[in-house]
């Protein structure tokens, strides 16, 4: 449990109903200061709504959200000065030039005209869009638009950066670029960053603290290392130079195996230490090249599946 001074966002018993449908229901969440916080959940889990409630873009039906000591709804204008927010698939006016768009956003954030222009140029250079400043926003590619949205969120050097599915609409190259941009920013500035996503590897790569959401509730939250400490997957994948021979050996030893596209799948491994010593030993003795040996689901994926796909466990936790 984090101490009072370390928590920058605290949501207590938060519910949001749209008409009679609960989008977020009795949600409790604490975001420690300086963390790269991942909000993980399947589509429709309530991630975007939670972020909108935190930023004061939606009004709570009940409960309380405290952001940097301020009420998320009543003091939303003050909170907006301290938070940078990148909405899910942000849209910028296509007929404006990149620099004019950024200048307008800086002005609305409270910058004077000359400061707005200088700050806009700094941020565009930071996200690698400096050379496009006189180009119309409509002519930018999807990845460039996302970087522009990121630059917009960085206006005023916010204390908390909230990124709603920042890589959702990007191609693989764009995803890697934006992920690097986020981790680089977090490293350089030591800010609190909240990233929502349903893509596990991305959350794992970018964050050090996570909360798993499903059906508008937080199922579990904590540092990634702590959540994954006691979790392991009992199903393994093996790739070696002689898969047919290895699978026969493993079957003889009583392992439940299956071969698919030259990859050996071993199910329900009960004794992990024995398994981890057996496979390399067999390969070494028979001079088979062991290319990889890894769990089918990594630890975080296992944690996620345990919570999201297991309603009974979820009910127990709640």
């Amino acid at each position: 449990m984090t101490t009072e001074s370390e928590v920058v966002i605290r949501a207590t018993n938060v519910s949001k109903f749209i008409q009679t449908k609960p989008i977020v229901y009795r949600l409790n969440l604490e975001v420690p200061k300086g963390t790269l916080f991942g909000l993980l959940g399947p589509n429709g889990a309530g991630k975007s709504t939670t972020l909108k409630l935190i930023t004061g873009r939606l009004r709570l039906t009940s409960g309380k959200i405290n952001v940097l000591g301020m009420d998320s709804w009543k003091q939303r204008k003050d909170i907006a000065k301290k938070i940078g927010y990148l909405p899910q698939s942000p849209t910028q006016p296509p007929d404006k030039t990149v620099i004019r768009f950024m200048e307008l956003m800086c002005r609305l954030r409270g910058f004077s005209k000359s400061d707005a222009l200088n700050h806009s140029r700094e941020l565009l250079n930071e996200v690698g869009l400096g050379r496009y400043e006189n180009q119309n926003v409509g002519k930018l590619s999807g990845g460039e638009k996302q970087r522009l949205g990121f630059a917009n969120a960085l206006i005023g050097d916010p204390e908390i950066l909230i990124l709603d599915e920042p890589t959702a609409s990007l191609d693989p190259e764009g995803r890697i670029y934006v992920m690097n941009l986020i981790t680089q920013y977090a490293r350089n500035r030591q800010k609190t960053i909240i990233i929502s996503s349903h893509i596990l590897p991305e959350i794992q790569r970018m964050t050090n603290y996570i909360a798993i959401l499903a059906n508008g509730k937080v199922l579990t939250a904590g540092p990634v290392w702590k959540l994954t400490n006691e979790v392991y997957d009992s199903n393994y994948e093996i790739h070696c130079s002689e898969p047919e021979k290895l699978i026969t050996e493993l079957a003889n030893l009583g392992y439940d195996t299956e071969l698919e596209n030259s990859i050996i799948f071993v199910r329900n491994v009960s004794n992990l230490s024995e398994f981890w010593s057996t496979v390399p030993r067999l390969c070494s003795e028979n001079h088979w090249e062991l290319k990889f040996l890894k769990p089918v689901h990594d630890a975080l994926e296992r944690v996620f599946l345990n919570y999201v796909s297991n309603p009974l466990l979820v009910e127990e936790q709640l």
Partner: protein
């Protein structure tokens, strides 16, 4: 005791949020204005609001002047300016379509394109966006209408042989009054268009609804008794302008122009406040 309490109450009121709001409204209005003048729709509006009135005014030069001199010149200038405003500004099929095309897209278009979220990610309130858009549109439509109105007025005076500079300076207060009323009238139509724009998420729906509302308001307003046609847009022009032009006969039962001016300001504010409330409610269901 009460006085002390009242003093402390007023001391607690900070002017800083008001100044910040005014600043935000100003920034948004300038952005809307400069965005408008870069749009094709604006040049279409120029054709209507500038070229058509100037064309018809120049056409009037071919009509022989039977009587000239300062008095008749003032009368003719005022008369032709009133007709121009009535004809250009209040003609349903072109003037209103253009206002609706330019304005009704403002909020609904932003919501449709998804750009409205940009405003919401910054420390500004919904009413600042609505008022900013209102003033931006008002600047746009005013620079289309007011200069043409002034040119028309003084050209007619020149045509009918008014004496320079006496008659021209003398008529300055009238042209200012006409310009102010015209701007407030434009504001009422812009306010209505913004109101419908805040209800719909599609520009087309907003434009069509604005046109229908303008038509219905004007149509039913004209059916009211002559001394209470407050809903009729054309009635404002017919009633107020002859009163402002002191040497025209006031229409019978016409109300006080100052009262009507404030009534129109009230209508403007009402539209904008309702639009802000609707926007806030729809964004926070």
């Amino acid at each position: 005791m009460t006085f002390t309490r009242a003093t402390s109450y007023f001391q607690n009121i900070s002017v800083r949020p008001i100044i910040t709001s005014l600043r935000n409204i100003h920034i948004i209005s300038l952005d809307v204005f400069f965005s408008n003048i870069r749009e094709k729709k604006f040049w279409l509006a120029i054709l209507y609001y500038v070229v058509v009135p100037l064309g018809s005014m120049l056409g009037g030069f071919f009509i022989p002047v039977i009587q000239n001199g300062t008095g008749i010149a003032l009368y003719q200038a005022q008369f032709s300016t009133t007709s121009m405003i009535t004809g250009t500004f209040l003609s349903f099929f072109l003037g209103q379509i253009l206002i609706a095309l330019l304005t009704a897209d403002q909020i609904a278009g932003d919501i449709e394109r998804g750009t409205f979220t940009l405003f919401r990610s910054k420390p500004i309130y919904e009413f600042e966006v609505v008022f900013g858009k209102y003033f931006g549109m008002l600047y746009t439509l005013s620079i289309l209408s007011v200069p043409v109105l002034i040119i028309n007025y003084y050209t007619q005076m020149f045509r009918f042989g008014a004496f320079w500079p006496d008659a021209f300076i003398h008529s300055l207060d009238e042209i200012i009054a006409v310009a102010v009323i015209l701007v407030v009238l434009l504001g009422a139509v812009i306010g209505l268009a913004l109101l419908t724009s805040s209800v719909f998420s599609k520009s087309l729906h907003s434009i069509i609804t604005t046109l229908l509302l303008l038509f219905l308001v004007d149509f039913f307003g004209n059916l009211l008794p002559s001394n209470s046609k407050y809903l009729s847009l054309s009635w404002y022009v017919d009633v107020i302008y002859p009163k402002i032009f002191y040497n025209l006969e006031p229409v019978k039962n016409s109300p006080d122009p100052l009262m009507l001016f404030f009534l129109l300001i009230g209508v403007n504010l009402l539209f904008l406040v309702v639009a802000s409330i609707i926007l806030r409610l729809r964004e926070n269901p």
